[in-house]
Amino acid sequence: MTGSRTRRILLGAAAPVGALLVAFLITSVLLLLTGSNPFDAFGAMASAFGRTRIILGTINQTAVYYLAAVAVAIGFKMNLFNIGVDGQYRLAAMLSAAVAGASFMSNLPGPLRIAITLIVAMAVGAFWAGIAALLKVTRGVSEVISTIMLNAIATFVVAYLLTPQMLAVLEGNNISTPRITDGGQVSVITFEGSTTPLFTLGILAVIVGAIYALVLSRTVFGFSIKATGLSESAAIASGISVNRMIVSAMLLSGAVAGLIGMPELLNGSAASYSLNFPTGIGFTGIAVALLGRNHPVGMVFSALLWAALDSSANALQGVGVARELVTIMQGVIVLSVVVAYEFVRRYRLVLEARDVARALAVQTPEAVAV
C-alpha cells in the first residue's frame, strides 16, 4: 500500500498548494490592475522575513492561530460549526485576566497562579460553548445561530465587566483588568535585535495539537467523534450517544478556545485584558481549520501560512500597496481551497473504487451482478 500512501499525501497536498497558486495569481492580477508590480509586492513581503522580529512574531501568531483552529476543528470533526470560538476566547481571556490580576493572587506561588489562570480560561470557554451545546441537544437550536448570538452577547458582557465599577481599573485613558503582578506571568525568551520576544506559551499549541491528534486516532472517544461526523445515522445505530458527543465536543472546543488568549495574556507586555486585546481570532481559526482540513499537522502549516501573511502585510506599505491585499489573498485561498478539497475528495473516491475493481478483477474475472 506504499504506492497509494504516497498518492494520498500527494493528493492531500495538491488542493492547498493549488489554492495558494490561484490566490497568488488572482492577487497578481489585482495588483496589475491597480498599477502595482506583483513582483515588488511579493518581494517586499518575502524580504520582511529577513528580520528576527517578523520571524518571532510569525511564530507567536502561528501558535495562537493553531489553538483557534483546533478549537474549530473539534467541532468540524462532528459536523458542528462552532462559530462562537471568538466569543468564547474573548470572554475567557477577559475573565481569566481579571482572576490573574486579582489582588488575592499575589500571595500564591507563581506556578499555581498560572495554573489557576489557565483553568479559569478553559472553564469559561467551555461554559460559553456549553450553552450552545445545551440549546442544541435540548431544544434543537442550531449551533450556528446560537454561537453567533453568543458572540454578540460576549461582546456586551465583556464591555459591561470591563468598567471600573466591575472588574477593570482605569489607568490614564486606558481601561483594563488589573495588571498581573510579578510571578503571575510566564517569562518570555528575548532575542538580540528584536523588540518582539518569543512567547513561551506557544507550547500550549504543541500540547493541544498532540492531545488532539492522539484522541482522534487512538481513543474510543475520538472514534465516536469521527463516526458521528461521517454518518450520524450509523453512529446512532452503533450505540454512540450523539447528544453526549455534541456536548463533549462543544465543551472541549470551548475549553481550547479559552486557551487562545493565554500567550498574549501571560506572555504579553500588557499583562492585562484591555480593549486592545486582539479580536476576530476565532474567525481566523475557522479559515485555518478549513485550510488545514482539521488535520493536526495540516493545521500547523495553515496556521503558519496565515501568521506569515499577517506578519509580512505591513511590508507592503513600503512599496505603496495597501496591507489589505493580504486579506484579499487569505479570502481567495479559503474560497479556492474549499472547492479544491471537495474536488479532490470525489476524485480520490473514484480512484479508489477503480483500484479495488482492478485488484478484484484479477481474482474473480467473472464477477457479475450487483
Binding site: F221, G239, L349, A367, A369
Partner: protein, 530 residues
C-alpha cells in the same frame, strides 16, 4: 404471489385497442459496469408505443441500474438507446426529458409545504409577461392534464395534506407536465395499499389509451401480470427473456427471474431451545406525531430459533427494529434480553449485552462509507475487545480481526485499508454480517440481510445464519423476500399496521396465506391461525 389479495385484472382489455407495432424505446446491448461488478450486461429490450411494458427481476438484478441508464443518470459503456426510431445519447436526465422520457421515482420527491401546482411547475416554470410566473396558465394546464388522463387531484391543495395515492398522481402529473410520452415507474406500488394500486392501474390504462408508453418496474408478479402488455425479465444483470402476461404463470415468471441454480433458503433440523432470549411484552411505540406506530407487540425468541416477520414495508418493521436496538424509546411494555430488562438501556449497553444488528439500510446505518474496512469493523463494537481496551482503541487487534472477517466471510477486497464505499453491496453486507457475528452475540436482529446482494453472497449469508443458529443464536429475521422468510424461519409472524397479526408454521404456510395476512385480507381468520 398473492393472487387473492391483488387488484382484479379487470380492464386489461382496455379499449380493446391492441398495442400498435411502433417502437417507442429500444435498448440494444446495453452494458454498464461498476467498480468490481458488471451491473448490466447485454440488455436488449423493445418497448412498443402505447403499451405498458413491465421489467421484472429480483432485488439487485440490475433493474435500477438499467432505469438510471434509460433516464440519463449515467452512461452505459456499451450499447445503444433508440427513442422513436432515432438513436440518442443521454448525458443527464435533462436530455432524457427532452426526448419525452419521464421518471416517477419510488420515493416521492415533493415539497410538503408547497401546493400541488407549485410542486409540479417547480423547475419547469412557465414565464408570463415581464418574467413573472404564469400562475393561471400553469394551473390551467395542470387541471387540463388531470382531466385528460383521469389523474384527479386538487391543484391548489398543499402536498402535506395529500395521501400516498394522491402524491403519486402528483408525481405522474409532474412528469406529464414536462411533456413526457414515455413514463418510467420505478416500483410504483411499493408504497400503496391494494385500493390505491387499483386506482393507479386505472390511471395507467387511461394513459396508455391516450397513446403514452409506460415502463413499469416491479418484482410483484401478480401486479405485473395484471397491468402489463409485455414482460421482460432481468436476471443477474441481463435480459433473460420476454413473457406474455396473458399466458405466463407466476411460477414460470419466478423461475425466469431466479434461474434454477440459485441457493435455496432452508433450515435443517430444529435447534430451538426452551431458553428465551428476547421477550417483548405489550410493547408500544409512538411516532413523531404521537400516533402509535407499534401497538401491543408481544413475542418471544428462544436460543437457536429464527423468528421471521413478514409484512408490507412500512407497517412498523423499522420501528420494531429501532425499538429493540434502543434507538426509539418505548411508550409502554417491556423488553427483556435473556431475562434482564433492557427496555430503558442505551443502544450501547444493548450491543454490549450481545445484540448484533444487521440494519435494513447498510449504507446509512451499517457503515461509514468513507471509513476504511478496519474502522468499520470497530463501528458498533467500539467499546469492546478486540476493538478497544478501556478508553483506547486497539488498532492492531481491530485490524487483525478485520482480516479474520475478510477471510472467514469471504469479503472480496484487495485490503482492509480501502474505504467501505469501494466495495460492492454484497461484500459490504458480508463485512457487516461478519462484524455482527463477532463477539458471540446472543441475539441477532437481521433486517433484510440479503437485500440487494448477489447470489453468492446470499448463499454465504444464509450459511452463516444457519451455523450461528445451530450454535444457539436467537435471530429476528425481517425480510421482504417471502421465500427467504419461509425457508429461514423456525416460526413466522406477520406485522400489519404496527400489530403482530398471527403466528404461522413455515413448514405448512403458503406464500398466498402470508400475502393475504400481510395486506390484511386474511384478517377474519387470523385469530384461528394464531
Amino acid at each position: 404471489m398473492t393472487a387473492d389479495a391483488l387488484p382484479s385484472p379487470a380492464g386489461r382489455d382496455s379499449a380493446g385497442k391492441d398495442p400498435t407495432g411502433q417502437v417507442a424505446v429500444q435498448l440494444t446491448g446495453i452494458t454498464k459496469r461498476f467498480p468490481g461488478v458488471v451491473a448490466n450486461s447485454d440488455i436488449n429490450i423493445t418497448v412498443r408505443r402505447g403499451t405498458v411494458h413491465a421489467l421484472v427481476g429480483e432485488n439487485g438484478a440490475g433493474k435500477s441500474t438499467l432505469v438510471k441508464t434509460l433516464y440519463g443518470m449515467h452512461q452505459p459503456e456499451e450499447g445503444t438507446i433508440t427513442v422513436n426510431g432515432s438513436q440518442v445519447t443521454f448525458h443527464s436526465p435533462a436530455d432524457a426529458i427532452a426526448v419525452g422520457i419521464g421518471m416517477v421515482h419510488q420515493h416521492f420527491m415533493l415539497a410538503d409545504n408547497l401546493t400541488v401546482w407549485e410542486n409540479i411547475v417547480l423547475g419547469a416554470e412557465q414565464m408570463g409577461s415581464g418574467g413573472r410566473l404564469d400562475v393561471r396558465g400553469s394551473r390551467a394546464r395542470i387541471d387540463e392534464l388531470g382531466r385528460r388522463y383521469g389523474l384527479m387531484v386538487d391543484s391548489g391543495a398543499l402536498v402535506e395534506t395529500l395521501g400516498v395515492g394522491a402524491r403519486q398522481r402528483v408525481e405522474i402529473l409532474k412528469v406529464l407536465y414536462r411533456g413526457a410520452e414515455i413514463l418510467i415507474l420505478d416500483e410504483p406500488t411499493a408504497v400503496l395499499v391494494p385500493q390505491e394500486v387499483d386506482e393507479l392501474f386505472g390511471n395507467l390504462r387511461e394513459l396508455k389509451s391516450e397513446g403514452l408508453t409506460i415502463i413499469f418496474i416491479s418484482h410483484k408478479l401478480d401486479e405485473v401480470r395484471a397491468i402489463a402488455d409485455e414482460i421482460t425479465v432481468i436476471r443477474r444483470g441481463t435480459t433473460v427473456g420476454t413473457a406474455d402476461p396473458k399466458t405466463v404463470t407466476n411460477r414460470q415468471l419466478a423461475e425466469m427471474m431466479v434461474g434454477s441454480a440459485l441457493p435455496v433458503p432452508e433450515l435443517r433440523e430444529s435447534t430451538v431451545t426452551q431458553r428465551a432470549i428476547l421477550q417483548l411484552a405489550g410493547v408500544r411505540v409512538a411516532g413523531p406525531d404521537g400516533r402509535e406506530v407499534l401497538s401491543d407487540i408481544t413475542m418471544t425468541i428462544h436460543a437457536g430459533e429464527v423468528l421471521g416477520i413478514a409484512g408490507v414495508e412500512g407497517n412498523g418493521q423499522a420501528e420494531l427494529v429501532d425499538t429493540i436496538m434502543g434507538i426509539r424509546p418505548l411508550a409502554g411494555g417491556s423488553i427483556e434480553l435473556a431475562g434482564k430488562d433492557i427496555g430503558r438501556s442505551s443502544t450501547a449497553s444493548r450491543r454490549e449485552a450481545g445484540v448484533g444488528f444487521i440494519p435494513e439500510d447498510r449504507q446509512r446505518q451499517g457503515l461509514i462509507l468513507e471509513g476504511s474496512l478496519w474502522e468499520n469493523r470497530i463501528l458498533g463494537h467500539q467499546t469492546r475487545r478486540p476493538s478497544s481496551r478501556g478508553f483506547l482503541l486497539d488498532r492492531s487487534a481491530a485490524k487483525a480481526d478485520t482480516r479474520r472477517i475478510v477471510e472467514e466471510f469471504d469479503v472480496r477486497t484487495p485490503s482492509i485499508f480501502v474505504t467501505a464505499a469501494s466495495l460492492s453491496g454484497g461484500n459490504q453486507q458480508k463485512l457487516i454480517v461478519g462484524r455482527e457475528m463477532s463477539e458471540d452475540p446472543v441475539l441477532l436482529i437481521a433486517s433484510h440481510p440479503t437485500r440487494g446482494v448477489d447470489v453468492g453472497a446470499q448463499a454465504a449469508i444464509w450459511d452463516q445464519l444457519r451455523t450461528a443458529r445451530a450454535a444457539g443464536l436467537a435471530v429476528l429475521l425481517i425480510s421482504a423476500d417471502l421465500e427467504e422468510l419461509i425457508g429461514m424461519s423456525d416460526r413466522l409472524t406477520v406485522i400489519l399496521r404496527g400489530r403482530l397479526t398471527g403466528s404461522y408454521d413455515p413448514r405448512t404456510v403458503t406464500t398466498q396465506q402470508l400475502g393475504a395476512a400481510m395486506t390484511g385480507a386474511g384478517d377474519d381468520h387470523v385469530g384461528e391461525v394464531a
